[in-house]
């Protein structure tokens, strides 16, 4: 496939979101520092969070450029290993937490991060997201080509990879929010891969049953659901204050730096709740724009899938779409009281390095793939013409099977 210019709207939208996030962190970072200092007697400087976020953004942009530059043909071989690394890190984190090592960063009994000194912390779940996405895309594309997409040849590895990943994220790390995103990546990918709808529905049903099982076997999750319905739990304060922030913003918002909710009323103001602070600051117009930017971004990501040169690339783009769409929706809907709070970041906007970097990597890959899309004209008459790609993939799969 001949390389052409990539879809720059993807880049523009991603940069817009990163920039908006920076403005917000710039405005409320000092409040956050002040709040933490007052509550815990720390000595965090006023621009601490802004500087850190600026570094995060720069790292993320570098990651984006790398993901764009390194040929996908090369990167795709890493997918499996990223997934393996994610699992290894998860096991490592679990062991570190088990022995009570300071390297495991835990909050409220959930250990989800590995401390890496002055660089901050690393979230193994992010490796799982990217790894699972890449691995499943390849697997599904090749099984599709082999015609075994509806056989256990496909379902078994999918099931094992997914269940292992979900086990660590949901059960060990107690992170239902990230688990939801992982499920979205898995479901989005296999749905788009062309599996029989009946089988897909079965999987969906199994996940729902498992989901209910996961909730009812854990008292704290039952409690969370109960309090979400009754509106009287610990999360209620968080959601209530997120909605106070959003509601106070009105049509045009209170203006940059005038957020009162961010002075400590709203928990996690700079990370999970950043959408609410944006609502207070920029109002309905601002949030409408944020949602619009996400819609444009994801529409363009989906366009990459629609025009993808081959089914693997298509599934990668669908995975990225599912990832960002679900993570964004779950975050925003929690902030607006539509779904229970699960504690995940808003892609590209929230404070925090790992999450941002992995999303930009995913978008960087997508941007690269957008250089190889077919023209829409071609699409219309598109037949299965990528024979050389198909052939190569067959070889590869036969190799992997020999192992």
């Amino acid at each position: 496939m001949r390389r052409h210019r990539g879809d720059r709207i993807i880049v523009a939208m991603a940069l817009l979101l990163l920039f908006a996030g920076l403005i917000i962190i710039y405005a409320i970072g000092p409040m956050r520092a002040n709040f933490l200092n007052a509550a815990y007697g720390g000595n965090i400087s006023e621009n601490h969070f802004f500087v850190r976020q600026l570094i995060n953004v720069i790292i993320s942009i570098v990651a984006f450029v790398l993901a764009y530059k390194i040929p996908y043909e090369k990167m795709r071989r890493w997918g499996k290993w990223i997934l393996v690394l994610g699992v290894v890190l998860s096991v490592g984190l679990w062991l570190l937490a088990k022995v009570g090592s300071g390297l495991a960063k835990c909050e409220l009994g959930a250990c989800r991060w590995i401390n890496i000194g002055s660089f901050g912390s690393l979230q193994p779940a992010e490796f799982l997201k990217l790894g699972l996405l890449m691995y499943l895309s390849q697997l599904a594309a090749s099984r599709k080509a082999e015609g075994t997409i509806n056989k256990s040849d496909f379902w078994l590895p999918v099931g094992v990879a997914s269940i292992v990943s979900l086990f660590f994220v949901i059960v060990v790390q107690k992170d239902l929010g990230t688990g939801t995103v992982l499920i979205a990546i898995v479901l989005g990918t296999i749905f788009a891969s062309g599996v029989e709808l009946k089988k897909f529905a079965l999987v969906l049903g199994l996940i729902l049953v498992a989901g209910v099982g996961v909730i009812v076997t854990s008292p704290h999750r039952v409690e969370r659901v109960r309090t979400f319905i009754n509106g009287d739990g610990a999360d209620t304060y968080h959601i209530e204050n997120a909605m106070i922030a959003i509601g106070t913003g009105g049509l045009t918002g209170v203006g940059v730096g005038n957020s009162v909710q961010a002075t400590g009323y709203l928990p996690e103001s700079i990370n999970d709740s950043v959408f609410a602070v944006m609502g207070e600051t920029f109002g309905f117009i601002g949030l409408g724009l944020v949602v619009a930017v996400f819609v444009i971004l994801l529409t363009r990501v989906m366009r990459v899938a629609e025009l993808a040169a081959d089914s693997e690339q298509r599934l990668v783009a669908v995975g990225v779409f599912s990832w960002i769409a679900v993570q964004m929706a779950v975050n925003i809907m929690a902030m607006t009281g539509l779904v229970p709070l699960t504690g995940i970041t808003l892609p590209l906007l929230s404070y925090g390095g790992t999450s941002m970097m992995f999303v930009t990597i995913a978008l960087g890959i997508t941007f690269q793939l957008s250089c190889y899309t077919k023209r829409e004209k071609e699409m219309k008459q598109a037949k299965f013409s990528n024979s050389h790609l198909k052939k190569r993939r067959l070889n590869e799969n036969s190799r992997s099977r020999r192992r």
């Binding site: 007052a38 204050n241 909710q261 309905f284 607006t336």
Partner: protein, 579 residues
């Protein structure tokens, strides 16, 4: 391929985005005001700016001196989660602070999850400053004012105290609480979650506090102190446990001393056996002052021209009224029986004399009638202010003067009232009425407030002047003479120094116990005036002394107290003897 599925995913996402947008519209546009109200309720911090409570002054001659002052003290609060143990040991848990600490250091470090703990109270400004300079982590100083009493127990029952809630209780602190406490200001700001005011928004409100007034009492600290001393000495000497005394300027109604003993320490007001000891009996405890009221009865009769000091009547030693035998206290002393003058009746405190006066007031010297009762009631209540609140700036009890018409046995009741029984009045009522009897007939509302200290200067309140005439000037002149005569005729004759014009009247009241007058429990009262011979009286003093269950005669117990007070006042007020 599966374009339809991709389209389906995209449409699902659009649907979710649409739901989000609708939700945002609802929250931000439709429900905006609700959320703003919630935000305001949460963000708005209302701090009262405490008004400074006014101080209380007494006069020292012509200079006001503070007798109730404010002191800034601090409470120390720590946040056990973030404190530094060594720092706390060096800065707060020191020997210097021993008396203020209310917990041990180990209590603070025991539970690190706590965020708030009071560790010391009543810390002085100096100590607080030292701690503040070292700025220990997780330590706050909370300032508050405390009342201090440089004169200790002096006039405690007059001054009252301030309770832990900052409310004035009893005495001046109670009755002038509003004036003293001033008006708190309000600071309304948007604050962060730790209640630190933010500069965000411009709805901040600041209403400054209006500090309380510094009240200057007309009470003279020296007179108060010495009268308390005299009363206390006499109480001890006589073995009596309750006494009240009042010194007034009869020319303007100003109270110069108001004594109630025993006293208490207002700084430790909780250290008392009962609330009884807080009360200011002079204004809040109505009682039967007995024969001092003969002064009111005779003044009424003289004012009406019904009799004068030389008018004679037949003293039978008792009278029968409504079937009751009403006796003189001198009943049995046959030498007093027979034809006597009104002055004799005053001198020997003959109840038959005051009952005669009531008959004379009614225009029929053979029997008490309704006209007499009505006139006596009118004079007692409307002229002399008995059974009525006087209007002094203190809590007052009204007492009771019974209606002259309604009810049975009015004749015997009013017969009793002519000598001050069967009625309830306070000392301040009697003294204010008496002041008018001797000052030429003008009634002044008694007052205890001289003025206010403003910026260190006494600003006197406007003098009100007399509010009414109680008796004619000539009546008043006759009353002075009668009181002088009575005092002169009594056993204590000779105690008064030459060149001074001093008069007074005793009153020994039987006390009602179990619904009947007890024969062996009396309360002694003496009221008298003094001044330079040939001039209007300069002081009026009233003493009430008793002990429950004992007979306390006025001549024996109350009059000696008055004598000493009178002699002291002559010296203190530097009253030169007249011709």
């Amino acid at each position: 391929m599966n374009d339809k599925r991709l389209k389906f995913l995209k449409l699902m996402f659009y649907a979710v985005a649409a739901v989000i947008l609708v939700r945002l519209f609802v929250i931000q546009i439709i429900q905006k005001n609700e959320w703003v109200a919630k935000a305001e309720a949460q963000h708005t911090m209302e701090n009262t700016i405490k008004a400074k409570r006014g101080e209380i002054y007494m006069m020292d001659g012509s200079e006001p001196v503070a007798v109730v002052m404010n002191k800034q003290v601090y409470t120390i609060i720590v946040d056990p989660m973030i404190i530094d143990e060594d720092e706390l040991k060096n800065v707060i848990f020191t020997d210097d602070m021993k008396d203020n600490l209310i917990v041990e250091l180990s209590d603070v470090t025991a539970d690190k999850s706590l965020r708030y703990m009071v560790v010391a109270k009543n810390v002085s400004r100096e100590q607080a400053k030292k701690i503040e300079e070292k700025d220990p982590t997780g330590v706050w100083l909370k300032g508050m004012t405390k009342r201090v009493y440089p004169e200790g127990t002096l006039a405690a029952r007059l001054l009252g105290f301030v309770n832990d809630d900052g409310e004035g209780q009893y005495g001046v602190e109670g009755s002038l609480d509003e004036e003293l406490s001033g008006k708190d200001g309000l600071l309304k700001t948007i604050a962060d979650v730790n209640h630190v005011a933010l500069s965000i928004g411009n709805d901040n409100v600041k209403i400054p506090a209006e500090d309380g007034k510094n009240v200057v009492l007309s009470v003279d600290r020296n007179i108060q102190k010495n009268v308390e001393k005299i009363v206390a000495q006499k109480m001890q000497e006589f073995g009596k446990d309750q006494a009240s005394a009042l010194v007034m300027n009869p020319r303007n109604g100003e109270v110069l001393a108001m004594v109630n003993l025993p006293s208490y320490d207002p700084a430790n007001y909780g250290n008392v056996d009962g609330a009884e000891v807080y009360t200011n009996r002079v204004t809040t405890d109505p009682y039967e002052p007995a024969s001092v009221c003969k002064g009111f009865t005779f003044a009424t009769a003289i004012d009406l021209g019904a009799l004068n000091a030389q008018t004679t009547f037949y003293n039978n030693g008792y009278e029968m009224v409504d079937g009751w035998m009403i006796k003189n206290s001198t009943y049995g002393q046959s030498n007093i029986l027979g034809v006597r003058t009104i002055q004799d009746a005053f001198n020997w405190s003959l109840n038959t004399g005051s009952m005669y006066a009531l008959r004379a007031i009614g225009g029929d010297t053979t029997q008490i009638n309704e006209k007499g009762r009505k006139i006596l009631y009118d004079y007692f209540v409307n002229h002399f202010g008995l059974g009525q609140e006087t209007g002094i700036e203190l809590f007052e009890a009204k007492g009771l003067i019974n209606d002259p018409i309604e009810g049975d046995g009015r004749d015997s009741m009013y017969a009793n009232m002519t000598f001050g029984q069967n009625m309830m009045v306070t000392m301040i009522q009697v003294a204010s009425g008496y002041a008018s009897l001797i000052n030429g007939g003008e009634y002044y509302t008694p007052t205890i407030v001289k003025g206010y200290m403003e910026d260190g200067v006494l600003v006197e309140k406007e003098a009100k002047g007399p509010v009414r005439r109680t008796v004619k000037e000539e009546t008043s002149a006759q009353m002075r003479e009668m009181l002088w005569g009575t005092r002169s005729a009594q056993r204590s004759y000779g105690v008064d120094r030459d060149g001074y014009y001093i008069g007074g009247k005793t009153g020994t009241a039987q006390v009602i116990r179990n619904g009947a007058y007890s024969m062996d429990e009396w309360v002694a009262t003496y009221i008298g005036f003094g001044g330079r011979s040939g001039e209007m009286p300069q002081y009026l003093a009233m003493v009430r002394i008793w002990k429950d269950g004992e007979t306390t005669g006025a001549e024996q117990y109350a009059m000696p107290v008055f004598n000493e007070i009178s002699n002291y006042l002559i010296d203190y007020l530097k009253i030169r003897p007249g011709a």
